[in-house]
C-alpha cells in the first residue's frame, strides 16, 4: 500500500513537472512580437500529432517548433518569413491554410459546383410542365370509368 501511494505521488510529481515544462515563458521586446508569436503558434500544425497546433501540443517537436518561432520572432522576421521557414522544413502540411494549387483548388471549386447543380435542379423542378392533352389516353380513361359504372 505504501508503495502504491508512493507511486501515485510520483506520477503526480511527474505530471506537474511535465505541465510546467510545456508552459515555457517567453519574453518579448514588443507587444507586437508577442502577439505574432501567439498567432503563429496557433496557426502552425504539429507535425507529430495531427490535429493539434504547436501551441496546444506537448510533443517534443512542438516545443522545439515553439522555440524556433520564438527565436525567429525575436530576430525580427515577419509572419510570412516564419511560415515559409517552417514550410521549407515540414511542407505545406505544417500550416493550417492550404495553398491554392492544382490539387487543392477542388476544395474551393467542389462546393461551388454543388451549389450550382442545386440551383439548376431547383429551377428546373419549379418550371411547370406544359399540360399536354393526350386525346387517346383521355378516351381510354373515359371508357374505363364507363365500364365501372
Amino acid at each position: 500500500m505504501m508503495r502504491f501511494k508512493a507511486l501515485i505521488f510520483l506520477s503526480f510529481a511527474w505530471f506537474s513537472a511535465y505541465t510546467s515544462a510545456s508552459e515555457e515563458t517567453y519574453q518579448f521586446e514588443t507587444d507586437a512580437q508577442s502577439a505574432l508569436f501567439f498567432e503563429l503558434t496557433k496557426e502552425l500544425r504539429c507535425p507529430m500529432c495531427q490535429n493539434q497546433n504547436i501551441a496546444d501540443s506537448d510533443a517534443m517537436i512542438a516545443a522545439d517548433l515553439r522555440r524556433k518561432v520564438y527565436q525567429l520572432v525575436n530576430e525580427g522576421q515577419s509572419r510570412e518569413e516564419i511560415i515559409d521557414y517552417m514550410k521549407q522544413r515540414y511542407g505545406d502540411f505544417v500550416y493550417y491554410q492550404p495553398p491554392v494549387n492544382a490539387t487543392t483548388i477542388w476544395l474551393w471549386l467542389l462546393p461551388l459546383i454543388f451549389v450550382f447543380i442545386g440551383i439548376v435542379l431547383v429551377i428546373r423542378s419549379r418550371q411547370q410542365k406544359p399540360v399536354t392533352q393526350d386525346n387517346a389516353k383521355l378516351e381510354a380513361a373515359e371508357k374505363l370509368l364507363e365500364e365501372d359504372k
Binding site: P47, M48, I61, D64, R89, G91, F93
Partner: protein
Amino acid sequence: MRKVSFFVLPLILFVGLAIFLFQGLFSDPREHESTLLNKPVPSFVLPDLMNTDLTYTTEVFVGKVTLLNVWGVWCVTCAVEIPFLEQLKNEGKHIVGLYYDQDIDPDFGIKTVERVQQEVEQKLGQLGNPYAYNIFDVKRDLSLDLGVTGAPETFLIDKQGKVRLHHIGDINPRVWQNKFASVYQELIAE
C-alpha cells in the same frame, strides 16, 4: 431517360465515395513527402556523440551512400529496429546515427553529455551497434532542418550528399524491400 439517371446517378456517387473511403483505409496520415527530396542535407557543424572533440559537417556524406538514422535510447521503436539495422550493416551498408536526447532542454540543458554517452553505450551493448558513428544533434537543430517529426526516421543520402529518401517510422525487412532496396541499388551504381 429519367429512370436511368434515377438509378445510375446515385450508383456513381456511391461507387465514387466507396473508392475514396477505401483508399483512406490504406493511407498513412503521417506520411507526407519530405521537402528535402533531391536536395543536399542542410549544413551543420555537430560533434561526435562518443568523442565530442570530433566534429562533423555535411562533407562526411560525400563519396558514399549513407543511411542516416535518427534515434535515441528513449525511443522504443528504435530498439526494435536496431537489430535489423545491424543486419544491414553486416551486409556492408554505411549507417550513421543522428542522435538526439529528449531530456536536454536547449535553453537549460539538465543532462550531462557523459550521462547520455553512458546510456547509449549500455543500449548498444544490449542490442548491437549498427552505427559507423553517431552525430550528436545537441540542440536538435539539424533534426528541425531535416524536418524530423520524431524517432525513428531514416534518410537515404546519395554520394553527392543529397537526400533521396525519407522514411518516418522503423525500418524492417518489409519496408526495406518495398521502399529502400531498389533506390539503394541505384544509388550504389551511380
